[in-house]
Each structure stands twice: as structure tokens, then as C-alpha cells.
Amino acid sequence: MDARVVVTGIGVVTPIGSGRQAFWRHLLAGRCGVAPVESFDTSGYKVHVGCEVKDFDPAPYVERLEAERLGRASQLAIAAARLALADAERAAEDLEPARCGVAMGTTSGEPREVERFDDCYVAERLEQVDDRFMSLYPCHVIAGHVAAELGFAGPNLVIPAACAAGNYAIANALDVLRAGRAELMLAGGADCFSRITYTGFARLGAIAPERCQPFDKNRRGMIPGEGAAVLVLEPLARALARGAPVYAEVRGYGLSCDAHHMTAAHPDGAARAMARALEESGAGADEVAYVSAHGTGTPTNDRLETRALERIFGDRARRLPTSSIKSMIGHTMGAASAIEGAVCALAVHDDHVPPTIHFERPDPECEVDCVPNEARAMKVPVAMNNAYAFGGNNASVIFRKVPEARP
């Protein structure tokens, strides 16, 4: 169980750009993806902005399946998967399909399908429900559609761990590879912009009116978003043998549950997940150079998250670069920690960390170095990716530099 697993391909579809290079460029430039919501009418809401992926066209990515017969989350996931595989330079070409698997995280699966059902229901027109509703909707079809599109016949799983789901999927893929149950795993997360999600966060009073300002004293909440990220994961030995590009090693992870409250986090659980991830990674807390924060921008989350970071990093928590890209791309739900995992791998590889934008006033209750407003050039030998979810599901994943691999 000690085979080393590395990231050899990155595919992302986000509100500020798709594909590794465009995304990373825009992220380091501090681009903001917030815009008026177009997916549905927000006139009945007190808030009106979101982070949608505008003008997304699945056609270039969906070759084997029919794009119009897939929900939007599946389309986003397939796009990210195709981009990741292309980035990994023929990673699957010489492998048996049965040795290639898929692990995806999501919060809502294909919520637009159930929203269509609900529209028919309230209009008392159930006969207009699509016959394919139950083939399109259940969340497990996201990983299934990716596998069917690519012909992958290996282990296939969706882990719907809400806003930490991407990390859960990466963690599962790591275990699948270490156990030798596959030789290549696509791992990530996908969620599409959803009326249900937007309504819920609006009712919780969690959505900021204009922008997301993690760790800022005047932060007013999160901004719902959508997107997908897929990482190509494979054993280091195989990546080296085929001369593949290597972004980072997925060194270890930690999971925990608060068992405290459905929607309010608790620092104990977050700290246990971090401690476990560090322990498995064999990395001391002092080796972590960058933390990708969960950093939703709600008053409560960022305060409790800071408390958890202090428990692990002590005084150093104040100086440890800890940014939240949710300030730029919003909260992409089940995709969030997968996209942030891609960010950690890129930070390790590229010697840069992305900023937290819209930062204006420090909060004495959130004393972290949130890399305010400007990306920073710095070495990142070890990065930690933190994610916390409804249900008290916590997940931390450690990424580490691989000096011996092709950059």
C-alpha cells in the first residue's frame, strides 16, 4: 500500500476559463467570475449574482455519447475529463480499459433534471416529464457518463460528499491505485448551476450580494458557482516510465466527521482531518508551504476555519499563505475541492500561489495570510487542500513536489 501516486494531467472547466493553461493564467491574474445569473430568473430573490460557466459548449468534448442526452454536470465532467487526458499526454493509450477507473464527487448530481420534473409537477403536467428522467438524474451517472464516453471499464464511483466531494473522490482514487485495483484513475468533481442550490443558500442568508471576500472583515457570504475538474492520477513509476509530465504527488489524505451540525462546521473535525492527512503524508506541519482554504466567504466558515488552522499550525497560521480561489470562481460545490486540488498541484509545480481577491480589511478573527489580491511567486514543496461540507464531512489532501519527475 505504499505505491506513490502522482498527478499527470489536469482538466478544468470554470467560470474564469477552461483548460489548465487559461484557467491558471486567469487565476494568477485575479480574474473574477461573478456575473448576473442567467440560468434562471432571480427576480424573486434578494440576490442576483452567481459564477456560471458562460457559453459552455459540450460538443467539442462529447464524442462517443450524445451531448443533448446528458445532464449539464455530466457535460462539464466529460469536458474536464477530456481536457485532463489530453493534458496527460496519452496516459490511457496503452492501458486495458478495465484498468482505468473514474471517481467523481458532486453535491447535487444532475439537479436540473429534478428541477424540470418539479416544473412539470407544479404545472400539473406530469405527462411532460421526460421518460429519461431516472436515467439522467441520479448522481452516479456523472462518473458513469465519463467512463462510457471514454470506454473506461475500471472501478467507477460517485462520492456525493457535498462541498468536500472532490477531495473525497481524489482520496478514493488514491486508495484504488495503491491497492492495485486500477492503473489510472480520473478523479475530480462536477456540479452545475442549480436553482435548488441557489434557493437554499439564499434562504440561509449565505449568498453575498456582489462579491465573495474570504477572510475580509466585511465579508458577506459565498457566491454559488459551477464547474468541473478532473485529475489524471497514476502510479509514479508508470509516469516516470512513460516520461509523462508530473505536476505533483498526491501524498495522503485525512477524512473526519464533525457529527455536530448539518450546516455549521466545527473546528475539531477540520483539525482532525488535517492532522490525519499530515500524519499519512509523513510531512510535518512546518513543511506545508501553501493551504488552499475552503474559504467560502461566509462570516462563520472563515472564522471557524481559521481556528482549525491555528490548532494545526499554531502561530505560523498567521504567516502561512492560505488563499481561497472561491473569491474568483465562487463556490463550485462538489467541484470546488477538485478544482482546488488542481490548484494545489499547479502551485507545487509552477512555484506560484493564487490570490484571495476582493480583500480589503483584515479581520482580527481571521488572522491568516490570505495572499491578498496579488498572486505570489514562491516555492511550494508541500500544499494542503482543505474542504468542509454539509453533513460535517471534512477532507484534507496533501500534494507534494516530485523532484525526480519531468516538470
Binding site: P97, T107, V129, P138, V141, N156, A162, R181, H260, M262
Partner: protein, 427 residues
């Protein structure tokens, strides 16, 4: 960590399903060939050709969960939390002991609660978004039942929700077993749960996958029967307490069985190509046997996922025949009694096999009269020369040391799990 050094045993089980709320009673009724399929009462099915399901009638969560505030828990969460209570009781994990030792939960589910999700949305549509209920929103996430169960019982360890359609429960058991083998956990509840609700019932009805929904013929949800034309929905939750063997023995826990190995995969044709589906199941079963260190001939019985699906049952029979040849080991298929319980199914199948280790009887396939000729050409579910459909329908005495649970999902997921008597058959 050498996987072989950490063995995974089952120290207790909890179940809430249409046939009862105790593993031994459910097993007895399965062996007696009792069906639980009845007219749906929980919601209106007027005007639909399908009107039956295997519901948990008269479910009273307080019987299991006491006097706490149940309002935050929807039906799926209540079913899962109740099954968890029963499994914790059966395996001796008292509240005091749970306080000292971290327990986890790996829950397989297909929907969480599509009813909760849909009702939340419909209220916002009809009353306006500002009248949507925040407490219901917390339960619209698919991991809500696992999160609520963790809160109810104080389960602070790994808490994961796994979705692979009707294979979810089996995949959750496999996931949990690997966490124990790799040293990430020493004790977890694992299994699955899904509720019966109008949204999934009507949705499956419209796909034509429900028995009798498509052609106007009488519904026939009998696994492997030539007349079958789909499944009948069920509901429930089933959780097994999985523990690392030495730790379990040290604390004097009852040891019911061992989880020996598992395998899973995907049919990229999503059930449309019979050969592709069969091959996917063969690979999963082969992987499970290899993981368990057992040869096919060591398998004494199979607990199949067959639910009356025309293509799915054929795929499963063909896959099993390809692995085991003839004669096949005896096959149980419980869904003509329990219904298709979605995320709970894999755990219910596993529980059936575990009960049969001790009970010495394998439940028959209720209602089987005409084994499908197409299946026969690939090997009938039980290919012994003298096996007739009548034999398959009847429960039979059987000494089981090791058995296989197989699962073929509706959309391409496949899985297999090997269980055996604990501490035997070191292979």
C-alpha cells in the same frame, strides 16, 4: 501495510425493510418465501399501470431512536439512523464505548432523498423562493442521511456516502473494507439506504423499467423468470458493523462473518451490449475472488442482484455462468420479496448470505416458474442437470462456508463481494 494482515469481520447488523427489522426475522421470512410487495399507500398512484411496492409499512422511528428531536431527519435519514442503532446494539457498541473509540459510516445511496430535494424546490416554486425551508435545504445534499446519522449517534470517524445506483450498498461495503484493511479505520458501519417516494416511483415508471410499466402485460418482477418485465421498488436500510478482526476479538465482539474481498467495474455500454455487461461482471467477480484468495469452486452460494430487469438479469446470469461454469453454485435472489431497494440492495443481499452461513438454508427465488430460455442457453441460474424452476423457487438446506454477492446496476455499474465464515478458509 499488508492487506492480508488486517482482516475485516462483521460484528453485527441492523436492518429496516419491508420484511422486518431484525436480520434473523427477515432471513426466516425470506426462507419461508414470504413476499412483502403490496399496494402503495404512501402516495397516490392513480392512473398508473404500476401500483405496488415493498414499503416499510408503519415505520415508527421512535421505536429505534427514542425521544430525541426527529424533525431534522427525513425518511431516508430516519431509516438509516434506525438501522444504525440496531447495528450498534447488535455489535455491542454502546454509547460509552463509542465515546472512547471513533466509529465511521460508509453509506451507499442512490438518491439520498429525491423527495426532500423535489419538495424543497416545489415549495420555492409555488410559494416563492423566500418561503423555501432552510432546514429542508440541509437535507437536499445527497450525503444528508450519513451526516444526520453521524450526528444522531456521535460517529466522528470517516463519513462517506457512495453512489453507484443499485450497486451503491455493495460498493459502500467494499469501500469500508478497504479503509479497514489499509489501517485508515478499525470500525465502521457500512451498507446502504433509500426510501420509497413518489418522485423515484414515477420516474422509474416512466423509464419503462418497472414491472408492468411498459407493455400492459401483468407485472412480473421475478428474478431470472422468462416472464419478467422489470422490477418492483422497495425501500429500507441495512448496515453491517465492519471491524478489524483482532480489535474485534480483543473486545469480545460477536463475529458473524468475514468480508474476504471485492471487485468492481463498469460496463461502458451501460447495459446495452450484453457481452460488454457480462464481461464487466466477470472481471468484477474474478477480481473479488482473487482479492479473497479463493477459487470459484470455493463459492458455495451466490446472492444475486437480479430484480426482474430483462437485460440486467440476463447479464448477471451470463456473467455468473462464465465465471463458475456448470453447475452454477446455488443462487438466491431476494428482490421478488424485498423489492429493488436501490442503495440498500447490496447490503440486504450481503446480509442474506451472512444469515445463511449460520442458518444453513438458502432462500429460494419466490415466484420463479419459467426460467428464461435465453438464460438457459448461457447456463440457468442453477445449472445442475436436475434443477427445475420449482427447485430454484424453493429454499434449500445448504452448508455455506463462502459465498459471493453480485451486483449489476441499472446504468453500467457492477460489483462483487466475497463473504465467508470468520477465521476459516485461509486460501
Amino acid at each position: 501495510m499488508n492487506a492480508a494482515e488486517r482482516r475485516v469481520v462483521v460484528t453485527g447488523a441492523g436492518v429496516i425493510c419491508a420484511l422486518g427489522d431484525a436480520p434473523s426475522a427477515v432471513y426466516r421470512r425470506l426462507c419461508a418465501g414470504e413476499g412483502a410487495i403490496a399496494p402503495v399507500e404512501a402516495f397516490a398512484v392513480d392512473g398508473l399501470r404500476c401500483r405496488e411496492a415493498a414499503a416499510v409499512a408503519g415505520f415508527e422511528p421512535r421505536r429505534y431512536l427514542g425521544q430525541g428531536n426527529l424533525r431534522p431527519l427525513d425518511r431516508t435519514a430516519q431509516l438509516v439512523a434506525a438501522a444504525a442503532q440496531l447495528a450498534l446494539d447488535a455489535s455491542g457498541w454502546t454509547r460509552e464505548r463509542r465515546h472512547e473509540h471513533e466509529l465511521g459510516l460508509a453509506l451507499g445511496t442512490m438518491f439520498g432523498s429525491v423527495h426532500t430535494i423535489s419538495a424543497f424546490d416545489r415549495r420555492a416554486l409555488t410559494a416563492g423562493p423566500i418561503y423555501a425551508k432552510p432546514m429542508d435545504f440541509a437535507n437536499t445534499v445527497i450525503n444528508a442521511a450519513a451526516g444526520q446519522t453521524a450526528i444522531w449517534h456521535g460517529l466522528t470517524g470517516v463519513n462517506s456516502t457512495l453512489s453507484g445506483g443499485t450497486t451503491s450498498g455493495l460498493l459502500a461495503l467494499a469501500y469500508a473494507a478497504d479503509l479497514i484493511r489499509s489501517g485508515r479505520a478499525s470500525a465502521l458501519l457500512a451498507g446502504g439506504g433509500d426510501e420509497l417516494c413518489f418522485e423515484s416511483f414515477y420516474g422509474f415508471y416512466r423509464t419503462g423499467r418497472m414491472a408492468g410499466s411498459r407493455n400492459g402485460a401483468a407485472p412480473c418482477a421475478v428474478p431470472f423468470d422468462a416472464r419478467r418485465n422489470g422490477f418492483v421498488l422497495g425501500e429500507g436500510a441495512a448496515l453491517l458493523m465492519l471491524e478489524e478482526e483482532r480489535a474485534a476479538r480483543r473486545r469480545g465482539a460477536p463475529i458473524l462473518a468475514e468480508i474476504r474481498g471485492h471487485g468492481s467495474g463498469y460496463d461502458p455500454s451501460r447495459g446495452r451490449d450484453g457481452e460488454s455487461g457480462r464481461d464487466a461482471l466477470v472481471r468484477a467477480v474474478d477480481a473479488a475472488l482473487a482479492d479473497a484468495g479463493l477459487a470459484p469452486h470455493a463459492i458455495d452460494a451466490v446472492s444475486a442482484s437480479a430484480n426482474g430487469s430483462v437485460a440486467g438479469d440476463r447479464c448477471e446470469a451470463a456473467g455468473l455462468a462464465a465465471v463458475f461454469g456448470r453447475p452454477l453454485p446455488p443462487v438466491a435472489a431476494v428482490k421478488s420479496m424485498l423489492g429493488e431497494c436501490l442503495g440498500a440492495s447490496g447490503a440486504l443481499q450481503t446480509l442474506t448470505l451472512i444469515e445463511a452461513l449460520d442458518g444453513g438454508v438458502l432462500p429460494g427465488i419466490r415466484g420463479l416458474e419459467h426460467a428464461d430460455a435465453a438464460l438457459a442457453s448461457n447456463g440457468t441460474p442453477d445449472g445442475t442437470p436436475d434443477a427445475t424452476p420449482g427447485d430454484l423457487a424453493r429454499s434449500r438446506p445448504l452448508a455455506i462456508d463462502a459465498g459471493l454477492v453480485s451486483a449489476v446496476g441499472l446504468d453500467g455499474n457492477v460489483g462483487a463481494l466475497v463473504v465467508s465464515r470468520a477465521g476459516e478458509g485461509d486460501g
